[in-house]
Amino acid sequence: MAGQIKLAIDHVSKTYQSERGETTAIHDINLKITENEFVTVIGPSGCGKSTLLNIIAGLEPATDGKIICDGQPVQGTGSERGVVFQQYALFPWLTVRQNVAFGLKMRKDKSAAAQERVNHYIEIVGLSEFADRYPKELSGGMRQRVAIARAYAANPAVLLMDEPFGALDAQTRGQLQEELLQTWEKEQKTCFFITHDVDEAILLGQKIVIMNAHPGTVKEVVAVDLDYPRNQETRLSEAFLAIKKHVWAQVYSSAGV
């Protein structure tokens, strides 16, 4: 498991200026993520999870510190860092296939291999039959599958996900968790996954980053020593429950409840 460092978050802080004064969203965050590692981030609402993800993605500048990807400090967005948003963010005027192909189109990649990638990921998320439908014709779960396929098809080295299953019902969420695990096992990728669901954080993560609020800091990093393949039944195992007890206590105490 001691792979090389893929992504380093180096003393990153972010302070927002607004009319009502300054808000320090995150303060001095340090994390190292190794190649193909699946990291989940959990913490109370407002602790700066999205802010951190946006900074890693290059959608917002950090006030302090830097993000290092493959040994290079990052500047702005880059196709080696893909993002899946909570609200799907599909282009409603494009079909499923066109949405999945968007990243390759931006790269002007019209090769047969690109076409194959698009079909491959549409198939992986089980939407081949719906390839020519518009997003409005799909359920929430299907839309998020398209968004995941779209991120994968652009072939990023790091996949950043901001509560991607947060808007889905429990059953669909469970299904998508398993699908994401299977895809990750098949095609290894470095994943940074934000959630506010303790079970989800444990089930998906090899490592859980627990955050504190006001300002957002890293409270603890918990290693998750659970065997693969993991599925919904994993949630009933002794080992899972032991980790859950610990994480639960940490998250609750940091929420100040």
């Binding site: 609200q87 005027w93 968007f102 931006m106 790269r107 409005k136």
Partner: protein, 272 residues
């Protein structure tokens, strides 16, 4: 196997509903016919009631006014002249409105400077600034086109601007992380996302072009529907006047129908 079982029941259902209710298009046509019939009935009533009969010549008299105006040789030149001003005024209005609206939404300083001007001019009835236009542009088609252009530009700019401002910012973020540059975002996100608003703007612009026609043609046009209505009103020539009013209405509805047909084609992806 499942689909084989399902298919007959579906066909059966479709047949049943067809027997009970006529095709939607037939029903629509029936309602439209009824609506027009009632309108003509009401019109007839207005043409005989003592309080309103001076204003409303009866439908037969109006229909025969077609012959009168054709005989005077002005009907087609009036329609042609008005359509010419309306179409060119609208086209120029749109050509200016689209980039300016998008730039205003894109660069805040531009919005801060131009926004108040647009709101200000929009609150002035076009008839009020017609003399200003005539002094520089002279009388004739040029002045008419300018007046219609200004009015349509204002309403279309406001509508398109609203559309661009309301674009979901996560769509732009999503495009950025997939490698889109500013130009790509403009072509592949802003324009398609704003398309429903652009079409709404076009529809409002077309309506505005027509409603501004009378003001535009008060610049001393030699022909035109608006100019003719004014000159007929001076001689209380009610039947042809009514005919011209109806023609403006028909042009308006036809334009609106055409734009709606186009809209359905390009925005079939939209939630309704």
């Amino acid at each position: 196997m499942q689909s084989e079982l399902e298919l007959p029941t579906k066909v059966h259902k479709a047949k049943q509903t067809r027997k009970l209710k006529p095709h939607p298009r037939v029903r629509k046509l029936a309602w439209l016919t009824l609506s027009i019939t009632v309108a003509i009935g009401v019109w007839w009533l207005l043409s005989v009631l003592p309080g309103t009969k001076e204003s409303f010549p009866n439908p037969v008299a109006v229909a025969s006014a077609v012959g009168t105006m054709l005989g005077r040789g002005v009907l087609f030149s009036d329609i042609g002249s008005s359509l010419f001003s309306v179409i060119w005024g609208f086209v120029f209005g749109f050509i200016f409105a689209l980039p300016i609206a998008i730039l205003m939404a894109w660069y805040k300083p531009l919005e801060n400077i131009i926004g108040p001007w647009i709101q200000f001019i929009r609150s002035i009835p076009p008839l009020a600034y017609v003399p200003l236009v005539v002094v520089s542009a002279g009388i004739g088609a040029k002045a008419q086109i300018i007046v219609i252009c200004i009015a349509t530009f204002l309403v279309m700019t406001v509508t398109i601007y609203q559309g661009v401002v309301n674009i979901d910012p996560t769509l732009i973020k999503a495009a950025r992380v997939l490698g889109a540059r500013d130009r790509d975002i403009f072509v592949h996100v802003i324009v398609p996302a704003a398309t429903p608003y652009i079409i709404t703007a076009v529809r409002l612009g077309a309506t505005t072009a027509l409603t501004t026609l009378i003001a535009a043609e008060s610049t001393g046009a030699e022909a035109g529907l608006g100019m003719r209505i004014q000159s007929l009103s001076q001689t209380f020539d009610m039947a042809p006047m009514m005919l011209y009013i109806i023609i403006i209405g028909i042009i308006g509805i036809t334009l609106d129908k055409l734009i709606r047909m186009f809209e359905r084609k390009v925005t079939k992806w939209q939630d309704k």
